[in-house]
């Protein structure tokens, strides 16, 4: 049975993260700064900041580690489970490091980027937990390639029959095959919709044209229409499939580049604090 990374090893890394958070919170409550309000510059502030920066670098290292299949003694599942839970725990550690002092400056920029990365990671967890099942249900055992082949076949079938019908219908059938492009830009993939879908257009149009056919051709017309309807259903299924896939991928386009921006702002944060000590 496949074990989710969330319940991996009986929540070992969740427990680790909760311990870290609990210790940080207790220390924050107990600690009385010698001067001024709680802030990043007290003894505890420096401690939490150091823990935070080490965590961030280690969490970012996961991007390197996951590319090295089979290397290292610790399993990748351990890494990922720890990455998820310690990343969530970092929210508390870093927030306590700020002493709840925020402003329009490089320090809060680093904090915001960190929160942005973590939130995108939470999105990633959600899609990884939810979407594989939705995708399987949507494809009903086929692969995406199978679905595309079925669409191609329906193109051929419909074309074969529509040849003998009028040009109006045949042109719609041809357009529904030749103009059909699945997926597309990032927004199209993420929305799973296509306003100018040629298949949808063809179904609507042929549906109207069939009514005007002579009795002898009515049977063939209805056949073409049902083939187009079937194709539309497949096309939408593929779009849904692409949408799930895109959502499962898109968060990494935020998570990874913003992580690098975070590392850069973290460097600026640390340098600036000691530059203007």
């Amino acid at each position: 049975m496949h074990e989710s990374i969330l319940v991996y090893r009986g929540f070992r890394y969740l427990k680790l993260s909760l311990w870290m958070v609990a210790i940080a919170v207790v220390a924050y409550i107990v600690h009385q700064p010698t001067v001024g309000p709680p802030n990043g510059g007290t003894a505890l502030g420096y401690t939490l900041g150091t823990i935070g920066v080490l965590l961030i670098v280690w969490l970012a290292w996961f991007g390197v580690r996951k590319r090295r299949y089979g290397l290292g003694k610790v399993k990748l599942e351990d890494w990922l489970s720890a990455h998820v839970y310690l990343g969530l725990g970092l929210i508390v550690v870093a927030t306590l490091h700020t002493g709840f002092q925020f402003g329009w400056n490089v320090h809060t920029l680093a904090y915001s980027l960190m929160i942005f990365v973590i939130v995108s990671g939470i999105f990633g967890i959600i899609v990884y937990v939810r979407f594989p099942r939705l995708m399987t249900e949507n494809r009903r055992g086929s692969t995406q390639r199978d679905l595309l082949a079925q669409i191609a076949e329906l193109n051929a079938k419909a074309r074969e029959i529509s040849v003998t019908l009028g040009d109006d219908i045949h042109n719609e059938v041809m357009a529904s095959a030749d103009k059909l492009a699945l997926g597309g830009g990032a927004l199209k993939q993420l929305s799973g919709r296509d306003r100018n879908c040629p298949v949808q257009h063809a179904v609507k149009r042929v549906g109207e044209l069939v009514l005007g056919l002579p009795k002898s051709d009515a049977e063939k017309g209805r056949t073409v229409l049902s083939l187009l309807a079937r194709k539309l259903e497949l096309v939408e299924r593929v779009r849904r499939d692409l949408r799930y896939k895109a959502l499962m991928d898109i968060w990494l386009y935020v998570h990874v580049p913003v992580t690098f921006a975070l590392l850069a702002s973290l460097a600026a944060h640390i340098v600036s604090v000691f530059f203007y000590w």
């Binding site: 309000p37 990032a186 921006a261």
Partner: protein, 688 residues
């Protein structure tokens, strides 16, 4: 039973090839899976898509699991089929053919719609996946990283090393933007807001904590907490300004106010600094000694001493002044130039600008209107000047000398020569001698009257005289009046404006034992006169009942309070006019007036207990006490940088002590310029 499945392949040349397969049983299943009787290896076919079966009543084609199937082009789920019918299963056409070898059933299977270009073209047109959209995580990562580093690190650092190219925030307050402002970790304190835009005013060296020299630029003469040569403590010598004054925390003030900061050392100063003579202090409520005002113990010698208010006997102030308060504060008023007038504290005492000190009382604005300093009833309008013994003696001498020569002295006992109408008559030598003798006698009498009696200088001052007769020398002890009784504390009168003066300065507060004794003296005549009043009408009856109860209860401190309250009622409330009421009122005033000091040596300062009625230390109260007092830490009244310990800045040009309001002691006669105006306005308002 056997079924023949014939797989037909059409060649490009037009020829047809076929491969036959015998199936035992009554059905043939079609699908992509290899365990189908008819294996259809095409991606468009499901694993088990359809079945063709010999049933009792004929041959049936049936789609499996809702899959696609057509019979002669019509989409159906199940249908009976006969010879010649074409069943469409995905891209395959299955035709019912004549069994060539006598089998029960024969099926021709042909890939009628090969995948061909349709699929490849569709795939080519589509973008299947975000990786095909041209978005690149790597490119984004590089762009963001370089952008952040350039804007938030390189730019500010470059600005720091090229200060001439940074906008002048003083010249363009509204628009100038310094890139290092993006490093600002929090709002700066209010006092530093004017330089908040100029990071390099404080942050002068990279990777170095803010140096004290940066602070000394403005805080040039800031004073030490204690003499660092005498007290070589790391707390005093090894700290930076910024160790205590932490900026950028969004707080309006960066002055430390925590009691612990002071009490850590001052709670046990003997251990920390054995050389110190200061007493140990901690929490204001629990651990602060009684106040030790600076008391003038000998005005003539100008000697002052710090003496605790708790000392026994209670310290006495010998300032050189002799007038008591109670003479001026009779509730019914005192005789003034325009008749009876009631004075109160504010008639003489006003809070000085700044709110901390009182304006020093001086003769001209406060006393002169009633105490005119006349020295001879005949010499109308002639007065000695205040402030200089020499000037006073000269005025007297001049007056009698010139009168003796000019005449016109309207006193029947004087010699005729000085009584004559003023004229320019030239006197004979004997007349002249007689007049001069008279003048000398009069001068000596007047000097004795002015300096030697309780009438002029002696009304308020201690005076001295030495020598005999004509060569006698007179003097007035220079008053040594406290401006700041408690110079180590900062008491702000204006912060306590909601309280009455008496709340803290009444004799009942400052010296309760003395007050009680005075009430005890004044009460019996008041009691007796009250009970003797010939009426019990209205409020009078109630007062008489009160007095009777007090008499019966016998004397106690509580009765002193009640007697004072009853007397205040009689003195102020409207009572039925009966014979003897005036006398009772006068006696009541004596009881009330007992709260006013009757000796100039009384020190009318409240003890620490009076402050504690409202103030507690910043550790607050114990659980048992209601928490309705104001938490006050050490810096509520004291300061860290003590004004007299020398500048911290080694290169301070001026050694002037850090300014604090007022001096410790003043002569009482020559207030500074700023106070003169105030005294004039007080004088003018009291004349109205």
């Amino acid at each position: 039973m056997a079924i023949l499945v014939r797989f037909i392949t059409r060649k490009r040349s037009g020829g047809v090839a076929h491969r036959d397969q015998q199936v035992e049983g009554t059905r043939v299943r079609f699908g992509r899976s290899t365990d189908n009787e008819a294996h259809l290896p095409d991606p468009r076919v499901s694993l088990y898509q359809a079945v063709i079966e010999q049933r009792a009543n004929g041959v049936y084609a049936e789609a499996l699991g809702g899959a696609d199937m057509t019979v002669n082009g019509q989409p159906v789920q199940v249908a009976q089929v006969k010879k010649g019918d074409v069943v469409g299963i995905g891209p395959y056409d299955v035709t019912m053919i004549d069994p060539p070898g006598g089998e029960a059933l024969a099926l021709g299977v042909e890939l009628a719609r090969p995948m061909g270009d349709d699929l490849e073209k569709l795939v080519a047109r589509s973008k299947l996946g975000l990786e095909q959209t041209g978005m690149s995580r790597r490119r984004w990562a590089w762009m963001l990283t370089l952008l952040v580093l350039a804007v938030f690190l390189v730019w500010p650092v470059a600005a720091f090393f090229n200060p001439s190219r940074v906008p002048d925030t003083d010249a363009n307050k509204n628009f100038a933007f310094r890139p290092d402002m993006m490093w600002n970790s929090g709002e700066i304190s209010d006092a530093h807001k004017p330089i908040a835009q100029q990071c390099n005013r404080c942050h002068q060296m990279p990777f170095k904590m803010v140096r004290d020299e940066a602070c000394y630029v403005c805080h040039e003469s800031i004073q030490h907490h204690a003499d660092p040569k005498k007290f070589k403590l790391p707390e005093l010598t090894e700290v930076l300004c910024e160790s205590c004054h932490k900026e950028h925390n969004g707080e309006p003030s960066i002055i430390r106010k925590d009691q612990k900061f002071c009490a850590d050392c001052h709670g046990n100063l003997v251990a920390k600094a054995p050389a110190s003579t200061l007493l140990a202090v901690g929490d204001f409520l629990k651990d602060h000694h009684e106040f030790r005002p600076t008391v003038a113990v000998d005005a003539a010698a100008g000697k002052v001493e710090r003496i605790s208010l708790a000392a026994s006997p209670r310290p006495k102030e010998r300032s050189g002044l002799t007038f008591p308060h109670d003479k001026h504060l009779r509730p019914g008023g005192i005789r003034g130039p325009e008749g009876l007038e009631a004075l109160d504290c504010g008639s003489c005492h006003q809070v000085a600008p700044g709110g901390f000190l009182m304006v020093p009382v001086a003769q001209e604005p406060h006393c002169q209107r009633c105490h005119e300093l006349a020295f001879d009833p005949v010499a109308r309008g002639r007065r000695v000047p205040h402030g200089s013994v020499e000037a006073a003696v000269n005025v007297i001498r001049d007056y009698y000398g010139s009168t003796a020569l000019s005449g016109g002295y309207a006193d029947p006992t004087a010699p005729e020569i000085v009584r004559r109408l003023p004229s320019r008559v030239v006197l004979t030598p004997s007349q002249k001698r007689e007049a001069q003798e008279w003048a000398e006698t009069q001068t000596q009498q007047a000097l004795q009257f002015v300096f030697g009696s309780k009438a002029v200088c002696g009304t308020c001052h201690m005076t001295t005289q030495s020598g005999e007769a004509a060569s006698r020398r007179y003097g007035v002890v220079k008053p040594n009046i406290a401006e700041r009784w408690l110079p180590k504390g900062l008491f702000r009168h204006s912060s306590h404006a909601t309280e009455t003066c008496q709340r803290c300065h009444g004799l009942d507060v400052t010296d309760p034992a003395k007050w009680e004794a005075r009430v005890k003296d004044a009460a019996p005549p008041f009691f007796a006169a009250t009970l003797a009043l010939p009426s019990d009408d209205g409020a009078l009856g109630a007062v008489k009942a009160q007095v009777k109860a007090m008499q019966q209860a016998g004397w106690s401190p509580a009765v002193a309070r009640q007697a004072s309250a009853a007397a205040a009622t009689v003195a102020t409330v409207k009572l039925p006019e009966v014979d003897g009421l005036r006398q009772v009122r006068r006696l009541a005033e004596d009881v009330v007036g007992a709260a006013w000091s009757d000796e100039a040596t009384d020190i009318l300062l409240p003890g620490i207990a009076v402050c504690r009625e409202c103030h507690v230390g910043d550790s607050g109260l114990t659980m048992a006490q209601p928490n309705n007092r104001m938490p006050s830490s050490c810096v509520t009244c004291h300061y860290y940088h003590t004004p007299t310990q020398g500048p911290m800045n080694p290169s301070a040009k001026s050694a002037d002590p850090h300014r604090i309001p007022g001096q410790y002691r003043s002569g009482g006669t020559e207030p500074g310029e700023s106070l003169k105006g105030l005294q004039t306005s007080i004088r003018n308002s009291s004349r109205k």
